[in-house]
């Protein structure tokens, strides 16, 4: 994944929210990251620190919340939760699963002053 672009996206949103809500600093920012989003969390944390410099989120604490990976099994036609993109279906053992949730990369909220 391109963690630098994600950090840039976060920065843009921080700037937009700062303008809308009139805050000057972000203390803590929470992200929700799906298991299938392919985000390298250590890399994102690093990029976050670099990219937020000079923005209200400079020095902010970054918290990442995992969201489960959910897939549709094309063998038993049920929605199942799996930890890894290529895991077999926990119900029927089938291997043809299409993700239906778990690719999220969202800013959940920010604590600001």
């Amino acid at each position: 994944m391109h963690e630098m672009s994600l950090a840039e996206g976060i920065r843009q949103m921080v700037l937009a929210e700062a303008q809308r809500h009139g805050f000057t600093a972000v203390r803590r920012l929470r992200l929700e990251i799906g298991r299938f989003a392919g985000v390298e969390k250590t890399a994102l944390a690093f990029c976050f620190d670099v990219v937020m410099r000079g923005s209200p989120a400079e020095g902010a604490e970054l918290e990442m919340i995992d969201l489960p990976g959910v897939a549709m099994c094309y063998d038993c036609m049920r929605e199942v939760e799996i930890a890894d993109r290529l895991d077999p279906c926990p119900i029927c053992g089938g291997g043809r699963l299409v993700p239906v949730a778990g690719d999220e990369m969202r800013i959940k909220d920010m604590e600001v002053v």
């Binding site: 949103m13 700037l15 929210e17 990219v51 290529l86 043809r96 600001v112």
Partner: protein, 281 residues
């Protein structure tokens, strides 16, 4: 050279003027804060933590954002999609590893579709080579150089589309940067992602990079002319593609010999016709 992302400075001659400042303007998907745009950011949004000199600071509050990190890109992609729909044009986002044969395939596709209006957006980190290969066929092409950037985004594509003067009812082919990872996450406004996988890359490529093959509507198994000379197992390629994406269409082609190209052109025409019908209905 940008010290944060390493992207190169300056417009590329003849290419899209994605010069550094424009690419980094606030609102551009590539924008991020560093020396040459920090002043602008400060102008609009205050002086940041270093300037927090007001004593007795106001109380902390929680702002619920609940927004996709790539929302900006997605909104721009939606805009591109609207433009394409109004034009009745069908757009393909071609993705693959470097060297799978995207440009060669495009050159052959243009020849096979003679008479159909089409245009090409070429994405590479450096050089104008691929756009020149396309222009040699007579088709209009714009080159986007992403510098160190490893994918195209909707902003770059939208600006390239403005330059291209797209013909109504035609096709737009976007050759993404050779990379099987992040182009999967960046919607460009295309109608379909088409992944090219050449038969020398290894049967387990789809398993190693499932996101890209999950996002693709069609996989072109390219360079099948080489299959007899290697131990490539074409059925295993297909099985692995279907394992990660049971709905994917698969076509075996050779951009070198032209084998399977008719099927690919038929696939494109059908998709275009289906889009036109959906718009009318």
């Amino acid at each position: 050279m940008c010290t944060v992302c390493g992207c190169g400075d300056g417009a590329k001659p003849g290419g899209l003027a994605l010069n550094h400042d424009a690419a980094h303007r606030p609102g551009s998907a590539h924008h991020h804060g560093h020396d040459h745009d920090r002043g602008q950011g400060q102008l609009h949004f205050g002086t940041g933590p270093a300037g927090l000199s007001v004593a007795g600071v106001s109380q902390a509050r929680l702002i619920e954002v609940e927004t996709n990190i790539l929302a900006k890109n997605d909104a721009l992609a939606t805009g591109n999609r609207r433009v394409l729909r109004a034009l009745g044009a069908y757009a393909v986002n071609l993705v693959s590893s470097p060297g799978s044969g995207k440009t060669t395939l495009l050159v052959k596709t243009i020849a096979a579709m003679a008479g159909v209006p089409l245009a090409v957006i070429e994405g590479d980190q450096q050089t104008e080579n691929d756009a020149e290969r396309i222009r040699a066929t007579g088709a209009p092409a714009i080159q986007i150089n992403t510098g160190k950037g490893c994918h195209l985004d909707a902003d770059m594509v939208g600006r390239a589309m403005e330059r291209l003067n797209l013909t109504p009812g035609g096709f737009l082919f976007i050759e993404n940067v050779g990379n099987l990872v992040c182009p999967a996450a960046f919607d460009l406004g295309e109608d379909a992602k088409v992944a090219i996988l050449s038969v020398t890359e290894g049967e387990d490529k789809p398993l190693k990079y499932p996101d890209m093959f999950t996002a693709a509507r069609l996989a072109l198994l390219n360079k099948v002319d080489l299959a007899p000379h290697t131990d490539a197992d074409l059925d295993a390629y297909e099985a692995n593609l279907r394992r990660v994406n049971p709905r994917i269409d698969i076509l075996r082609v050779s951009a070198r010999t032209g084998e399977g190209m008719a099927g690919w052109v038929t696939w494109l025409r059908r998709q275009h016709a289906a889009k036109t019908l959906a718009k009318a209905g």
